[in-house]
């Protein structure tokens, strides 16, 4: 039976860590049993490169050194790989125990457990996460992982994107700056090369694979990108000084009341409200059907009427 990959990776990691001088690929191939099973040089080289990448993914810093005779040697220097001393009190350790369970995205969930294992190996005490709160961060969008890596490595990406109301996706080339999760949905902010401007993308609307695009970043990366502010404005929740006047049936529309600037009783059945007028208010007011009557502005009244007429026609 072939030697399991974890055993091979473990042997490679230990060999690279437990040496003071660079070890050549030849020496590693000779000393690690799993590599004996690979007969062709080409297959071994591929496997060796992948193994090094895997170890780097889990944090090992592997130096490549060229020797006098032109051969490459590898080592994981202990000073570059040692976790600096970290002392956490029991409250801090419990807090980390709680946050280590927050991710529901496979790669980051495993990374969080791995981080906690490294910290516990370094002496951070085990504390039962107390408290009654269970936070969860989902990231089911397939685009999440490639975009996280591209953002970290400052690589431009290309993907097909279907705008909210578009029938077909369109190709986009983006320099990714930041990812943000709001109300359980992930958004990407970045520089859209074809449009020459900053854009925000919702990850669930990316169709197909995220690919690496050519060339370094062409636009400067801002220090701070406020994805949420942009998204909230589209959701009609940005700060707006414009208001609309509506009539609302008594005892209905609690969320409208909670946001109203003023509320005045009109008669036994109706109140008049002044509510902030942002993007999407027409659709929201239409939801209340006969319990809402729009008074002003005229444009909002027309939008709501348009929706109601379409539904009345069936």
């Amino acid at each position: 039976m072939a030697i399991a990959k974890a055993e091979r990776l473990m042997n490679l990691a230990l060999c690279l860590m437990n040496t003071r001088r660079p070890v050549s690929k030849r020496e590693l191939r000779a000393s690690i049993e799993a590599y004996h099973e690979v007969t062709s040089d080409e297959a071994f080289n591929r496997m060796f490169e992948r193994d090094k990448d895997d170890l780097r993914e889990l944090g090992l810093v592997i130096d490549t050194v060229e020797s006098l005779d032109g051969e490459y040697g590898y080592l994981a220097r202990s000073d570059r790989n040692r976790l600096p001393d970290i002392a956490l009190d029991p409250e801090e350790a419990a807090a980390l125990g709680l946050v280590a369970k927050v991710w529901q995205q496979a790669r980051l969930a495993e990374a969080a457990s791995g981080a906690l294992q490294k910290l516990r190996a370094a002496g951070v005490p085990y504390e039962d996460p107390s408290g009654v709160l269970e936070p969860r961060i989902p990231a089911p969008e397939p685009a999440f992982e490639p975009l996280m890596l591209a953002t970290r490595e400052r690589r431009a990406v290309a993907f097909d994107y279907r705008k909210a109301s578009a029938a077909r996706p369109e190709p986009r080339v983006v320099e990714p700056w930041a990812l943000e999760c709001w109300r359980g949905h992930w958004y990407l902010a970045g520089y859209d090369r074809d449009r020459g401007a900053v854009r925000v993308f919702r990850l669930s609307r990316i169709t197909g694979r995220v690919r690496t695009a050519r060339g370094a970043f062409t636009a400067p990366v801002p220090d701070h990108v406020d994805v949420r502010e942009t998204v909230a404005r589209w959701a009609g929740e940005g700060v707006t000084s414009v208001t609309a006047r509506i009539r609302l049936r008594r005892d209905s529309g609690y969320p409208l009341r909670a946001r109203a600037v003023t509320t005045t009783p009109v008669d036994a059945d109706w109140d008049e409200l002044e509510v902030p007028y942002g993007h999407g208010l027409d659709a929201w007011l239409a939801e209340f059907g006969p319990d809402v009557l729009v008074l002003a502005p005229e444009e909002l009244r027309a939008d709501v009427l348009d929706r109601l007429r379409a539904v009345a026609k069936g």
């Binding site: 409250e91 490294k118 209905s252 006969p290």
Partner: protein, 318 residues
């Protein structure tokens, strides 16, 4: 079964951990590493196959009697048993989650302070790989005062009274609830036993219009907490089926409503089949959609939406 990279990561930490703790108990180590005892034994079966040097010879001499773990040659492995620095993924995972929770409105101040202190220490220890965590951020929406009241009720085991808004019926109802836990997935929710319906219910904190702590003790029946990994809304198989057809402007429905099927239509729209315990709530959806979509089935639901629109238009004089 975890993949090879995760197992390798765990085994490297195990080597460090075990060297510092000769005779460690299997149960304690499994708990500290967040794995089952069987998984840990699996790792312990691999470790003795691992050499400590490219020169050959020394293998890790670690064994277990199933209860305790012994390491017989710890002196051979100074460089392989030091604590390892964090990877970029690891630092990102902990820091982004810790900052998100620390920002949650209503969190106890002592918890927030512990999180922020842990973050600062982690950033120091992680060094340059911590930088990538700044590109990711997560916001949990919460109502601070409601959160604090629920938190207190759970800690003190007291019943809650609340006025709660149900969007499906567009109405406020008064309820008494024995709270069980708070959870945050985008929004923040309290799961509890509702004394009004005598059933388990989940309440979104931003829909709580008013909340009070009662003197009555909380006494929820023992129930399995909901499994949150499958999403919040989990329609049951016997819920009535609803079919909604939307144009391109209504495609967002498929993003917001869990559904069984979404078939592409020739005009760029979708035919979405979903199941819901409360089809009446979809009347609101139909009204919101306007010309961007309509309910196809069941016919009674389509008629309700139509009637509501006709009644609303009458008020405008149409």
């Amino acid at each position: 079964m975890s993949n090879a990279i995760d197992q390798t990561r765990r085994m490297l930490s195990l080597v460090t951990y075990l060297r510092e703790r000769p005779g460690a108990r299997v149960s304690d180590v499994a708990r500290a590493f967040g794995v089952t005892e069987a998984e840990l034994i699996g790792d312990l079966n691999v470790l003795p196959l691992c050499g400590t040097s490219f020169r050959g010879g020394d293998l890790l001499d670690i064994d277990t009697d199933g209860e305790r773990i012994w390491w017989h040659n710890p002196g051979t492995a100074d460089d392989v048993a030091q604590p390892l620095r964090l990877a970029a993924d690891e630092a990102t995972a902990l820091l982004v989650a810790a900052r998100a929770v620390a920002d949650l409105p209503g969190l106890r101040d002592s918890d927030r302070q512990a999180l922020l202190r842990a973050c600062a220490k982690l950033e120091d220890a992680a060094g340059e790989v911590a930088a990538g965590s700044a590109q990711l951020s997560v916001t949990f929406e919460s109502e601070g005062s409601v959160f604090a009241t629920v938190d207190r009720a759970i800690t003190e085991r007291r019943r809650l009274w609340m006025r709660y808004y149900s969007p499906a019926r567009d109405a406020l109802t008064e309820r008494e609830v024995d709270p069980i836990r708070l959870f945050a997935v985008g929004h923040t929710y309290v799961e509890g036993w509702c004394r009004l319906s005598e059933d388990r219910r989940t309440f979104r904190l931003d829909r709580v219009a008013e909340i009070r702590l009662l003197d009555a003790p909380s006494d929820p029946p023992r129930i399995e907490p909901r499994d949150l990994s499958q999403g919040l809304v989990q329609p049951a198989g016997d819920d009535p089926e609803v079919i909604v057809e939307v144009g391109p402007g209504g495609r967002w429905v498929a993003e917001y409503y869990p559904h069984d099927r979404a078939e592409e239509l020739p005009d760029g729209g979708l035919r979405i089949t979903l199941r819901t315990p409360d089809p009446g709530a979809l009347r609101r959806l139909a009204l919101r959609l306007g010309r961007d979509g309509r309910i196809v089935a069941p016919p009674a639901l389509a008629a309700q939406a139509r009637d509501a629109a006709v009644a609303a238009l009458a008020a405008y004089g149409e």
